[in-house]
Every structure is written in structure tokens, then in C-alpha cells.
Amino acid sequence: MPDPVMADLSDQLLTVAVLCYAIAMLGHAVEYAFGTRRPTRRTGTRSLVTVGAGVSNPAVGADVSEPAAPSGRADLAGKADLAGRAALWLTVLGALAQAGCLVTRGLAAERVPWGNMYEFTIATGLVGVVAWLVLGFRRPVRHLGLFVTLAVVLLLGFAAVRLYSRAGPLVPALNSYWLKIHVTAAVLATGIFMVGFVAAVLYLIRDRHDDAVAAGRWLRFPVTLGVQLPEAATLERMAFRLHALAFPIWTFAIMAGAIWAEEAWTRYWGWDPKETWAFISWVVYAAYLHARATAGWRRSTAAWIAVAGWVTMLINLFVVNLVIEGLHSYSGV
């Protein structure tokens, strides 16, 4: 029987996690607005490169971005750097709370804590955050945390408001060790695809930005964000790495799901909406890897396909469960 104390604790930990991420988002915003990463900005061309709708000087924009300078160079930059670092550690705290939320939920329901959409969304968000933290601590991309924390706050908020369900055991069809394998893989792959999607979008922005700067064109939002972003090639490679990591995991998740479906629903593949959209995502991501591998194609083509892939993932997560629901139900025998 569900343990109400643990279940309540789990709900509270989710609130703590959201709070941590929200404060981290503030820290990242401070860093984003006042931080400095470009040598040119330190040397007084600040007026040329403003965040928001600004103008960028081709000479400045062509400058290759470099890792964040050690803090304490300029006073403001030092404070901004501090804010960024604090934000990253707050994100760690948030991730711990989020992990705690899942663990207590698992204890409350005495099962793996990804048995319904609410839990699946939280687990996916956690994988995304952890993947982000690994990147954020190791690469000069920390200030991108603004976008990541924003995405996570929105995701968790949506989960808490729209998807919430009390902790409880699973319906018999879900009660299988294949659930653990299949859903774990799906959660992992989804989380990594999510971070890969962020990288692909940022790459597209930076790419646009570089093109515009090279052509001496005016910049408009969101292309202006490109000023602050790492080099296009770095972002593109990051996006590829993440997708290349997530794709086999997603493949495995689909295969584990098929094995489980063979046991629970008598056939390994039946084209129900969930399966269909998993297949669609798989095909789109395969197309991404193809486009990426084809010599002579623009990398931005591949990045757009990756964006399309993430859209299909979102459709599968939210539209199929909440709108096409009824064609397929995970309850009952």
C-alpha cells in the first residue's frame, strides 16, 4: 500500500527542486546579462554588443569566442561569474531534490518511480539536468544554463500542474521487469535528446548569427543571442555527440518495449499511437544521422532535422498521452 508520508515528502521535494532551478535561472540571467566572455567586450566595445535587439559589428562578431576568463578581471564580470557558478551549484541542489522526489516516490509506491506520465516527465527532466551538469561543469557553456533551467522549470511545472497523480502501484500490464528496462532506457534517451535539441537550437542561432555578421546584416532576436554562444562548430559537435549517444539508447528502448509488448499484449508490434510515434521519432533521428554523415550537406540541415525529431518526441510525450488518449489505455488487463 502506498506510504503517505513518503508520498508527501516526494511532492515537497519537487517544490524544492523547482525553487532551486528558478533561483538558478535568476543567477544565470545575471551572468548572461552582465557576464563577459569576449575579449572585445572587455576592451570597451561593450556598446556594440548588447543583449537583446542590438547591432553587432562584423569585426567584433568574427572574433572567436573563448572560455570564460578567470573571475575578478572586471568587477562586474567577476560578480556575474560568481552568479553563474552559484547558479550551477543551485542546479546541482535542484537535481538532488528532484532525484529525492523520485526516490521517495519509489519508496512510497514500492516500485520504480516512472510508472506514469507525471513520474516519467520528472525522470526525463532529471536526466536532462544531469546531462546538462556534466556539460556545464566541463565545457565553457555554463551561461547556457539560463535556457536549460528555464526549460526544466517549465517541464516540472507542467508535470506538477497537469500530470500530477498520487503515488500508487501499477496496473498489472505495467507490472513487469521489462517496465524497468524499457522505461529506464526511454527516460535516458529522452533526457539526452532534450539536451541535444537545446544544443542543436543554439547551434542554429549561432550559425545564423555568424552568417548575419559576415554579411554585415542587422541582428534581431533570437539571432542576437548568438553573441553569447560558444563557437558554432563546438555546439554542432555537442549536438551530434548527444544525439549519437541517445539514438542507440532510444533504439534499445523501442526493442525492450517490443519484447515487453510481446509478453503483455501478445504481439511485439501493433502500431498503437505510442508505438507509432516512437517509430516516427526513430526514423527522424535516423534521418538526422544520415544528413549529418552526408558529405557536402550543410550542417544546419541536419540540425533542423534534429529539431523536428524533438518535436516528434514532444508529440509522443504530451499529445499522444493527453489528446489521442482513449485509443489506447495502459490500464485494465
Binding site: 502501484p169 498489472p172 500490464a173 517490443a258 504481439r267 510515434w277 526514423v283 534521418a287
Partner: protein, 562 residues
């Protein structure tokens, strides 16, 4: 031996065939070749992949016959105008439609056309010696000139080649005029994996086709009790599907009886566990017991038996005008999550005069009923309060007249024939239904009685055999292994050029070492690997740095990939 380095070949790391030259010529053959090239190009593959993704979408928007037959019927009722048109476009059979088939068949033709030449090239590349060093090693992405060492070129070449072979590089040593080159190559597993991946896609398609041709399934509702046992012949299934190449002889000689069914629920009525005790025989075998569960099918050699549904079958005893009692065990179908169930109990042989044996056509009896395993506070609602039996009740509507069973028209066994009722052939007795609890009796207007004795459990089973599934499973494993190899392994080459110094007296008896390396741009760890290889290639002592370039200084770290 030639000293001309085959630079273009050496620096090409992909086994992709050369892009075809623009096809010349007219005529059928030339046109065919052009079309074939178009079809097997990467761009076409990409377009077809996209088409496949898009074509799969309508199948998730419209109900599909193979998944949700009743959904299709509902759709026809709700959209009487659009449905037939959509049906003609195969909107309700998307995955069996010719247009869906055309896309994936084209894709697979493209795949074979693309991969067979690639496989040939790959095999050739594996059999060939690694190509000789390009002339300008310093133009390669990785380059090092660690200096000179006091060894002769040939000896050093053997040492380096041995070192590389120990690390599973394929090597070739070539002696030129005044120099020796060592070529080494690694990472063929990438292309092998890629080919395995694509061919296992093909194997999966074959497995699916095989399974649908030679497979079969049959559904059967089975009530508990030894006299209800069923044997797997086609007539005994409520519905079934045979693959185009399968026959009834392929069905396993299975006879199965439901001994007991047990369901556990949470307090809110959500099911928690189901188990069905069964006893079965296969051919002449002794009876065996097996507990069927939702995730635990009974595995036979050629087929599996799955538990797919369950419900209640009220047991109703009717005693007619001549005092003869008949008992009906009628499965009722659940209509909600709390297992409120509907069904009928019919007694076509009721009120047959035992003296004459003559059937009175208008004295047949039928009951339309609604069963609630837990009667709610307000039984009129008709909705059970809980799915398990905690104070059950059965609401019966009694009908007398001609049941219409002899008309030979297929009809539902879960409801009375509405046409007979409409035509007045079958009339309701009284104007009220009657609520019966187990053991209660209801006396009808003519003195006959109906008694609700209790219920039995029933389950629905599916017997299914998919002989293609093992192939699909194995192909899936190969696919994943191939994919991993293809995404993690990097094809890479290194070359060492070992030359005797010209002129300089202080270098006599020494060998100048120069190295170059090449890989795909993605592999950022290659720099470290290259540095380590170079460091290992020169003997520890006695090396003199070259004048123009410093020895590699990056410490080996974090290199990955094989």
C-alpha cells in the same frame, strides 16, 4: 616499387563509393542507370525516411482495423460521409496500405542498392594493405616530427609496425629509395557495424513478413469449469486470423481448462494483479497446471497463450411450466472499470412439452441482465461500486416469445435480438426489471421461476504464434551491436616515414622520424592517441629533436574510441 604516394586514396577514409559521374547517353539502359543512381543516393534515402515518418502519422490519428475494430465502426457512425472516402484511401489500414508499402519497399530497395556496392568496397578495403603514406605528411590533420633516433630505418620500421600490430592496427611496411614507410589503419569495425546495422533492418522486415505469412492467432472466451474446457481447433475460437501460408494444422493440439481466476484490486478499484489457474494438455500428454498472468504467457513450442481479459458469468437457473430446470452460465461483458457487466441468458428449450416434445415457438425465455459485482448504494444507477464481488446483484429483464435464434442470422450472444422485440415477437414480462442477489428467486407471472445461483469467472485468451519473432529479435540485437560499433568506432590511419638523413654528418647512422595521422573530424580524442603512438614509436633514449618542430607535448589523456 614506386615512391609516388597515392595521396587521394590514402586520405579518403570513407568506403562510400565515388559520387557517380553524370550519366551520359540516352536509351533505356542509360535512363535506367540514371534512375537507379538517383534511387540509391543518400538524398533519396533521406527523402524516403521522411516520407516513411510522415506516412506513419495518419495511423495514429485514425482508428486502425487491426488494433481497434470497434473504433473504426464508431468512426463510420460518426462521420458517415467522410469515412468511406477515407476508407478508400486506406486510412483505417495505414500499415497495410499500398502507399505505405511502396515507401518502405522503395526504401529497402534503395538500401540494398546503396549497401551492396559499399559492402564490396569494404571487403576489398579489408583485404588490401593499408595505402602508402602521402607525400606531405605535414599536411595531414595530425603531424609530428619527433626527430631522429640512432637506429637504422628498416629496424625501426619493424619495431613500429610490431608496436602498432600489438595495438590491433593493420600495418604495411614499404621500402622506398632512401626511406621506409609504415602505414597503419584501424577502425574497420565502424563500416562493418554500419553494414550490419542496415542489413539487420532488412532482416527485421523479412522476419515481420515471415511472421505474418506463417503466423496465426485465435481469441477465445473461456468460463471456469471442467465442462467449459476448450481445444484449439478453429471452430472453437471466437475469432481468429491465419497467415496466408498457415493452416489449421499448424495449431498446437492444446486443450485448456480455467480452474480458477483471482484478481486483486486497490481500494480505488484499480487492478493490481490477475492470475488464472489453468490445466492443459498437449496432444496425449498428461494434464499440466499453469498459472497465466498478464505478463506471464504460457509458452508452447509453436505458440503462446496469453491472458487478455476477464469478467463474470452469472449462473442462472430457470424452471419452466413443466417443472424442468435448466441452468445457463452466461458470460457478461464488462462495461466499465468497476466491472458492471451486461449480457443475456437464453432458454430456447424452455416450456417444451415433455409429453409431445413439441416446442412452443412463443414460449421461449430470455433474460437481459446487468451484473454488478458490488451493488452501489443506488442500484438503479446500474454501476458497480467495486470490481470484486462484495455484495453482488443481478438486474434481470425477462422476455418471453420467439428468441429468433433459428433465423440463421449471425447475432450477438450478449444481447437479445432487438428486431424480435420491435416486431412484438419477444415481449417483456411485467414492466419492471428485478434485482436478484445470489440465491434469490423470482417467480414470473406464469408461475415459472428464475434463480440467480451465483457467478463463475471467465477469461479471454489469445493463442498466438509468430514464427518470425525470433528472427526479428536476433536481428534487433545485431542491429544494436552494429549501430554501437558504427557510432563509436572511428576509422583512422597513421603513417610513419623513416628516412636516412642526407648530408649532415652528425646524423650518420640515425633515422629521421616523421608521422602523420588522419581521422574523421568528430573524433577529438585522436590527437591524444596519435601523440601516444608517436611517443611509443621512438626509442626512449638517444632521440634528438628535429630542428623545426618540437616533440609532441600533450600528455596522453582522455582518449577514447578504439
Amino acid at each position: 616499387m614506386t615512391t609516388t604516394p597515392v595521396a587521394t586514396d590514402a586520405t579518403r577514409l570513407s568506403t562510400a563509393p565515388e559520387p557517380p559521374k553524370p550519366g551520359g547517353g540516352r536509351g533505356l539502359a542509360a535512363t535506367g542507370r540514371r534512375w537507379w543512381r538517383q534511387l540509391t543516393s543518400m538524398r533519396t534515402a533521406l527523402v524516403l525516411l521522411f516520407l516513411l515518418a510522415v506516412a506513419a502519422v495518419p495511423g495514429s490519428l485514425f482508428p486502425q482495423r487491426n488494433v481497434n475494430q470497434s473504433g473504426v465502426s464508431d468512426y463510420f457512425t460518426a462521420h458517415p460521409d467522410a469515412a468511406p472516402i477515407l476508407d478508400r484511401l486506406w486510412a483505417f489500414d495505414v500499415y497495410a496500405s499500398p502507399w505505405f508499402g511502396a515507401i518502405y519497399l522503395l526504401l529497402f530497395v534503395s538500401l540494398v542498392g546503396c549497401l551492396v556496392p559499399r559492402m564490396r568496397l569494404h571487403v576489398r578495403a579489408m583485404l588490401r594493405r593499408p595505402p602508402d603514406a602521402p607525400r606531405h605528411l605535414d599536411r595531414l590533420p595530425q603531424h609530428a616530427a619527433p626527430g631522429s633516433v640512432p637506429v637504422d630505418p628498416a629496424g625501426l620500421a619493424d619495431r613500429i609496425a610490431g608496436m602498432l600490430r600489438g595495438r590491433r592496427w593493420r600495418t604495411a611496411v614499404r621500402h622506398h629509395d632512401g626511406s621506409v614507410t609504415v602505414s597503419a589503419e584501424k577502425g574497420f569495425l565502424r563500416e562493418t557495424g554500419n553494414l550490419l546495422f542496415h542489413f539487420s533492418l532488412l532482416a527485421i522486415l523479412i522476419g515481420v513478413a515471415w511472421g505474418s505469412a506463417y503466423g496465426f492467432y485465435g481469441n477465445r472466451l473461456l468460463v471456469a469449469g471442467p465442462e467449459q474446457a476448450f481445444c484449439s481447433s478453429l471452430q472453437q475460437f471466437d475469432d481468429y486470423g491465419l497467415g496466408s501460408a498457415a493452416s489449421s494444422a499448424d495449431l498446437p493440439p492444446l486443450c485448456l481448462e480455467l480452474v480458477d481466476f483471482d484478481a486483486r484490486y486497490l481500494s480505488n478499484g484499480q487492478p493490481e494483479a490477475f492470475s488464472a489457474e489453468t490445466r492443459y494438455t498437449l496432444g496425449d500428454s498428461a494434464p499440466r497446471d499453469f498459472t497465466l498472468r498478464v505478463n506471464g504467457p504460457l509458452r508452447l513450442d509453436d505458440g503462446s497463450v496469453y491472458l487478455v481479459g476477464h469478467g463474470y458469468a452469472p449462473v442462472i437457473r430457470y424452471t419452466d411450466r413443466y417443472g424442468r430446470g435448466q441452468t445457463s452460465v452466461a458470460p457478461f461483458l464488462p462495461v466499465d472499470q468497476m466491472l458492471s457487466s451486461e449480457g443475456v441468458a437464453v432458454f430456447p428449450d424452455a416450456n417444451v412439452n415433455p409429453k409431445t416434445g413439441k416446442r412452443e415457438p412463443d414460449l421461449q425465455i430470455g433474460f437481459q441482465g446487468r451484473y454488478m459485482p458490488t451493488l452501489p448504494d443506488n442500484p438503479q444507477s446500474g454501476h458497480s461500486a467495486f470490481p470484486a464481488e462484495r455484495g453482488p446483484g443481478l438486474v434481470l429483464f425477462a422476455y418471453r416469445g420467439d428468441l429468433g435464434l433459428d433465423a440463421g442470422i449471425p447475432r450477438s450472444v450478449y444481447s437479445l435480438d432487438q428486431r424480435q422485440i420491435d416486431q412484438g415477437q419477444l415481449r417483456m414480462i411485467g414492466d419492471q426489471p428485478k434485482l436478484l442477489r445470489p440465491g434469490q428467486k423470482w417467480t414470473l407471472d406464469d408461475g415459472t421461476t428464475v434463480e440467480f445461483l451465483g457467478t463463475r469467472q471467465w477469461i479471454t485468451l489469445q493463442l498466438r504464434h509468430d514464427p518470425g519473432a525470433p528472427l526479428v529479435l536476433v536481428a534487433g540485437g545485431v542491429l544494436l551491436a552494429g549501430l554501437l560499433a558504427s557510432l563509436t568506432v572511428r576509422r583512422r590511419r597513421v603513417w610513419f616515414r623513416l628516412s636516412a638523413p642526407e648530408g649532415a654528418a652528425d646524423l650518420r647512422g640515425r633515422t629521421i622520424v616523421e608521422a602523420g595521422g588522419l581521422t574523421r573530424a568528430e573524433y577529438t580524442g585522436f590527437g591524444d592517441e596519435f601523440t601516444r603512438l608517436v611517443a611509443r614509436s621512438v626509442p626512449d633514449s638517444g632521440s634528438i629533436p628535429a630542428r623545426d618542430s618540437a616533440p609532441p607535448s600533450a600528455p596522453p589523456s582522455g582518449a577514447k574510441g578504439d
